[in-house]
């Protein structure tokens, strides 16, 4: 328990799904109160706070403080697309590392149930005369005419490109990845959807953007997640129970996409993930072979496949073989998305990057109930937000 390590003291997620009776602040407060209770601390112990919500409006952190405790501490309101939660977590990590606080709170929340398709947003043509507008001098919307800005379509191309480069992919292979995650979610009471789906049901469902059918897309839903982080030095002064349940953040990394040919035409989600993974393994002093479970950003079935490779869970180019070996099922060599992943657990955007850390931490604490991965000691949580930002956290069980 080195003094300069950072630990998770308390962490929680709300059930993901539809919460029509709770607004954004209610949901975030539920997560915050849960994380504080889990860590046996109060808002009075927090020295810093980072809060994220893409749809929750400005000043979400301050609004939240008014609901759960106003102490005058600094609040960082952060957004980084789907990596927002991981960015909030990382902000608190940096603050504690810098010595500005010895305990801090990170929270992410989103109300997305019923929002529907998320796209880059095409401009409406409004009749009259053709008039060039915007950075491309476009006289009409480009989304749908010059490729697609919808998320299912963008990530479909990312999976197809991987298949073009390395082979071994098919509509059925991508659907089988989704079949796995929907099967995993049946054991997770926090998941938005817990229904097992057959391969036939998945392939026969509504096509959104080939090869992603509806159940192969992340589920828009409501949810929040929060974590209390503490310095190693401070943790030493806390109770035996707090120390026993603490989970070490062995690595915390955030990257963006470095320039490469084509990356401004189709987002390259590979290089920044590979860079983040490499840095995280180095920080933690572990390799992919040491991981007991991985929660990765399966915003679409096509995305999960490429991240097997990007996180170096398999040899370069061998993601299809790796999946076909059964490795990523919960009883396989390296279980991936035992929570059900974004496709079945759900994807309330800003909550996701903390909820996946909660999932891993819960296994490391041996508190995951029916879906516990036995003896889990080390796990990795990964998110990616288009634009792009990638967060990777590696967690380790407390030694004692």
């Amino acid at each position: 328990m080195a003094s300069d390590d950072i630990w998770i003291l308390g962490i929680t997620m709300t059930k993901f799904g539809k919460h029509p009776d709770k607004d954004t602040i209610d949901l975030a407060s539920e997560a915050v109160m849960g994380a504080l209770a889990d860590g046996e601390v109060t808002m009075g112990d927090m020295g810093v706070m980072a809060a994220g919500s893409l749809m929750g409006g400005l000043g979400i952190g301050q609004a939240l403080q008014k609901q759960v405790g106003q102490t005058g501490i600094p609040v960082y309101n952060v957004t980084n697309a789907c990596a927002t939660g991981a960015t909030a977590l990382r902000t608190v990590v940096m603050s504690i590392k810098a010595g500005e606080a010895d305990m801090g709170l990170a929270v992410g929340v989103e109300k997305l149930a019923g929002v529907g398709l998320l796209s880059g947003g095409g401009r409406k043509s409004d009749g009259g005369t053709w008039e060039p507008r915007g950075r491309f001098g476009a006289v009409a919307p480009v989304d749908g005419r010059i490729g697609t800005e919808t998320m299912p379509g963008v990530f479909a191309q990312i999976g197809m490109e991987y298949g073009h480069r390395y082979g071994g992919t098919s509509f059925e292979l991508f659907a089988r990845i989704s079949e796995k995650n929907h099967a995993h979610s049946t054991l997770n009471p926090f998941a938005a959807y817990q229904k097992r789906m057959s391969l036939e049901e998945i392939m026969g469902d509504v096509m959104i953007a080939f090869p992603n059918t509806r159940p192969m897309c992340s589920a828009n839903c409501d949810g929040a997640a929060a974590a209390v982080l503490v310095s190693g030095a401070k943790l030493k002064t806390l109770s035996p129970t707090q120390r026993r349940r603490a989970v070490k953040i062995a690595a915390s990394v955030l990257t963006t996409d470095p320039y490469e040919e084509a990356c401004q035409v189709l987002p390259n989600v590979n290089t920044l993930t590979r860079n983040a993974a490499r840095m995280a393994y180095e920080q933690a002093g572990v390799g992919p072979e040491d991981l007991d479970l991985v929660e990765l950003h399966d915003c679409f079935a096509t995305a999960e496949l490429v991240h097997y490779d990007n996180l170096m869970l398999c040899k370069e180019g061998a993601a299809a073989d790796f999946f076909n070996s059964g490795a990523t099922w919960r009883d396989g060599a390296l279980p991936v998305n035992v929570s059900g992943g974004l496709q079945s657990k759900g994807h309330p955007i800003a909550a996701t990057g903390i909820a996946n850390v909660w999932e891993v931490a819960t296994h490391l604490r041996a508190e995951a109930g029916d879906r516990q991965i036995p003896g889990a000691k080390v796990g990795l949580a990964h998110v990616i937000g288009l634009g792009s930002a990638c967060g990777v956290h590696i967690l380790e069980r407390a030694a004692a």
Binding site: L117, V139, D143, T150, I158, H164, V206, A209, Y259, A262
Partner: protein
Amino acid sequence: MGQQIAHVDYLRLGDDPHLVAHECLGCGARYFDRRNACAGCFATEFRSVDIPKSGEVRAFTIVSLAAPGIPVPFVAAVVDCGGTSVRGNLINVELDADHVTTGMKVRLATYSLGVDEVGTEAIAFAFEPLG
């Protein structure tokens, strides 16, 4: 015949419609809209270059659900045009995965987006199968 206008400013019309890009003088990186500095090497000078009109499909999707007002289904693709990646739709092709494949050879094509109230016709680009 009335005036024509390109859907986007990097599509050049005339007898030989083609795409143009801003090419970094430092490293050759190409951008379809303006840059203050190159994202790859930070150089600040660019020149206009023509993009080859044929290429190979490197990735595609068949979009069946899109934002309101966008006709579906359509094929969105990334086409490698002689080393420059271009985003565009595929047209004049059957809309299923038996007929659209990565690796297929395509060429630039143009089509009309319609005529506005002063008679100007907007022309868009896409890619179609070669041969």
